[in-house]
Symmetry: C2
């Protein structure tokens, strides 16, 4: 007995963009129309975009998780951000010539692929929509800065706690938190690459969080037992996520 307001498949995307700007029903349905035109699926473990690719298309994630990552020649890998349902992979990157990083699917992913010209046309039709996409881009940059702080100055325990807090806070507004639990389809290797730790140490850090009764993480499900305590430990402050309603 779900009432779907207007979005259908692109509900999540619209919720996400509305966390930045109020979108009119007209804008939402224009977006929905464009999104539906070319919906693709890909299994886990595929690169949607590779470093060096020309950046001529926009991709918007409808379901599934992805990771933006960079690698060094000798194979060291760093995840620089997660791409969650509702996020766009690279709105506006076509202003630059080439991708500076790769994006790979951590789970099976459904996404919409939009040609640059079509995207241009879409955002030209509605100022709020254009601004919402820009806000998303700027919010991503803000997250990126927090990650530099996280990896540069937080110790392992704080760092992992912070990442978990961030993911939950990002999943909540798109309706993917079920109370204090969420699907968490990420391997420990991915978490290690996202936090700049080794897999072994990440494993031990997770166990420390479990031992403190802060989290339960098993069978690809994360439950936060005590969110306030976890945020305290992580020195977490949600402002950098740039959700206007959540600030001050």
């Amino acid at each position: 007995m779900h009432m779907r307001s207007e979005g259908g498949q692109s509900d999540t995307v619209i919720r996400r963009l509305r966390s930045f700007r109020p979108l009119s029903a007209a804008a939402a349905s224009a977006l929905d129309k464009v999104v539906r035109e070319r919906i693709l699926r890909v299994g886990a473990g595929h690169d949607l975009v590779s470093e060096g690719d020309p950046s001529d298309r926009i991709r918007i994630v409808l379901s599934g998780w992805l990771a933006r990552y960079k690698t060094l020649e000798d194979g060291r890998r760093q995840i620089v951000n997660f791409v969650l349902p509702g996020d766009s992979c690279d709105a506006y990157v076509y202003l630059l010539a080439r991708m500076d990083h790769s994006i790979s699917s951590l789970t099976p992913v459904t996404y919409s692929e939009i040609r640059r010209e079509q995207f241009d046309e879409l955002i030209a039709s509605d100022r709020m929509l254009a601004d919402a996409f820009w806000c998303e881009t700027l919010a991503n940059a803000s997250i990126q800065r927090e990650w530099v702080l996280n990896i540069g100055r937080r110790v392992a325990l704080e760092r992992v706690a912070h990442l978990l807090c961030e993911i939950c806070e990002r999943l909540r507004p798109v309706g993917l938190m079920d109370g204090n639990s969420c699907a968490f389809p990420v391997t420990q290797m991915d978490l290690a690459d996202a936090t700049g730790l080794s897999v072994v140490h990440l494993n031990r850090t997770l166990q420390e969080l479990r031992a403190g009764d802060l989290i339960v993480l098993r069978e690809r499900t994360l439950t936060i037992n005590d969110l306030d305590a976890l945020k305290n430990l992580a020195l977490f402050n949600a402002n950098y996520l740039q959700y206007p309603q959540a600030i001050g």
Copy 2:
């Protein structure tokens, strides 16, 4: 016997933006006019912008170095990026409500402060100019991602080497490299905060670079003796800086 093309005080800014988009003489002089309207100076060690400030003004750096940084409650500090002459502090951030980080001057700084409305008007007048500012914003995001990789996956020696390479490559297009040397007005504490290291270890890392005859750093001047060797050591690849002309 310098011939100044059109910019005067905003030469550096125009060079910087032209590394992203060809700007017409008209666009350049419109920018120059706006820049000149309100030029401010500030000594070293001042916060131009503080975390939480409303982001209602644009600042463009004419001379001097600044650092974007974030802090944790207990005082740990991480520089997340340097702001160099020609860079704008925060074009377009006014789309978001508040600053997520602070910006402080590392040296005396000359900068232009532009009101949001005035900036809107300026970029509405010239598409290339608007795009150039957007490119700068996106290029900054790209640098931010590289920093996550740098701090997350490079060891101290590579990490410091990488930062030095980046700074030189960014100073070159705005004419601030003198051969292989440049003014380098940054304390070791700043470098430590930018690389996620302690001051003591940063000091030892610099000495290791000096011992390998890779760099000379004294009296606020950096000389790179062997840039190729330094880039090799740092696993440095300039693509992420997003200068179109420098990319394959």
